[in-house]
Amino acid sequence: MRKRTLIPIFYILFLMLPIYWLVAMSFKTTQEILGGFSLFPQTFTLENYAVIFTDPTWYWGYINSIIYVSLNTVISVAVALPAAYAFSRYRFLGDKQLFFWLLTNRMAPAAVFALPFFQLYSSVGLFDTHIAVALAHCLFNIPLAVWILEGFMGGVPKELDETAYVDGYSFPRFFAMIFLPTIKAGVGVAAFFCFMFSWVELLLAKTLTAVEAKPIAATMTKTASSAGYELGLLAAAGTLTIIPGAIVIYFVRNYIAKGFALGRV
């Protein structure tokens, strides 16, 4: 049993090493980084972070990312809920085909869609808005949310619905008051995955924005190329992108394992 615990420990160490390096780099001065190798920051500096928090092009990148990711999570889960309910409770014309078609959209390489997406969203006048990115990310998040929620709802016995109707609940009231609380773990897991895939995606987000809604990750690539080799600044910006993800996982930590097992994910 002793030897066994070493495996997760080594794995977590392996996961943490590059992250440690990024964080350590963010506290170093550019001079120290380019000057040579040092395991810990020798002249500890917060200057890199100061630049990010005082320059609007930097901190607006974060705000933009958070806005479109939140919008996308809300839209995806909201429209996926009734659809997943329909898939888990009813048979209807073309249900299997529709479900499969939804899943195929997760298989489409984002690179394929980049250019047509740009043209589509430009032509409807949504280019460079938060809602454009939020809607575009629906392409792969809605299928995933429907899939996860359908798994969870399938685990809820149909008798629950029937009892509620006998007790005189209307459908919307039943859905909101009884059904949603029953599958709240599923909603949490679905929201987590939507947040995750929207937060980490960059190709579409970058293609659909220019100034007003530019995500932080795109700000990073632009700065990296224009300002030369400012590794410290890049590392600080990278470190800050890890934080929202860490907060979100912390909230769903109890659902991750349980949620996975309950739903079919």
Partner: protein, 287 residues
């Protein structure tokens, strides 16, 4: 038992409309480009299936496709067994469970270009932690901007770092759903650890593993940002995977016709292989 109800369509309508808006219009645009030639100014000429033929016959496409299959194959045979082993050796209850889950899920929540940038910083020959250790402490020459082999090892390691946790989390979810009674029964029968794994744990993990393998296949086959930021497809073309090549043709050379034809072929291959995987892995369930 599900009941027949055509009004259920109203429930799926919002999803349908949103996804159709995002999927059908762009894919039709791609189809449109794939059969036409343009010299700019929005003037198009009918080209038929020439682009498809050209792409299917081109050595460049074959090479990129070969590299893509190689990459996906390598990461699958590393990540899936490794993920299962880690999930098996994780604690089942107590304080360390959430700690493991949170730290393991962390790499998956880092934006993909940050992952690329992070590994770039990590592997710089003289100032990166890994690069320094390899070159100066261990004395192994390591520079992924020069050596294709080093570049391959690096992108594979990066993907293992990034995504093994997905397999771990899914397998772990399958494992914790096994009731204790199963293990007690196995103990009474005197089953070896291998037998417990083969006849109790593996069957219980089958559904989640199917999902893990499918997701890993789809995502690794479509991978773009991380290797692009890390190696830019180089040195030479050694790590130019399919989507990197596609973007080079579409946006670098602005050859919209060939790029669109390539997109459709690419999409068709992904669909076909996913479908094959899916039918093979769920074959037993249908019986």
């Amino acid at each position: 038992m599900k009941t027949e109800n055509q009004r259920a369509w109203f429930f799926v309508l919002p999803v349908m409309l949103l996804v159709a808006f995002n999927a059908l219009v762009p894919i039709m645009t791609v189809v449109n480009y794939s059969v036409q030639e343009t010299f700019g100014n929005n003037v198009f000429f009918w080209q038929g299936l020439d682009w498809f033929e050209q792409i299917l016959r081109s050595d460049r496409f074959h090479a990129a496709l070969g590299r893509q299959f190689m990459f996906t194959f390598l990461i699958l045979i590393i990540e899936v067994p490794l993920g299962i082993i880690i999930a098996l050796s994780m604690p089942r209850k107590g304080f360390w469970v959430p700690v493991c889950l949170v730290t393991m899920a962390l790499p998956m929540l880092i934006p993909w270009n940050v992952v690329g940038a992070m590994w770039n910083i990590f592997t710089l020959p003289d100032i990166g932690l890994l690069g320094y250790l390899m070159n100066h402490t261990l004395g192994i020459e390591y520079d992924m901007t020069q050596d294709p082999f080093a570049a391959w090892v690096t992108i594979i390691t990066m993907d293992v770092w990034h995504w093994t946790s997905l397999v771990v989390l899914l397998s772990y979810a399958g494992l914790v759903s096994i009731p204790d009674a199963y293990y007690q029964a196995a103990k009474i029968d005197g089953a070896s650890p291998w037998k417990v794994f083969r006849y109790i744990q593996l069957p219980k993990m089958k559904t989640v593993l199917t999902i893990a393998i499918l997701l890993r296949f789809m995502d690794s086959f479509n991978i773009y940002t991380e290797p692009f930021v890390l190696t830019g497809g180089g040195p030479g073309n050694s790590t130019t995977l399919l989507s990197i090549d596609l973007v080079k043709i579409a946006l670098g050379q602005f050859d919209l016709g060939p790029a669109a034809a390539m997109s459709l072929i690419y999409f068709a291959i992904t669909l076909l292989v996913s479908w094959l995987f899916y039918t093979l892995m769920t074959k037993d369930d249908a019986k």
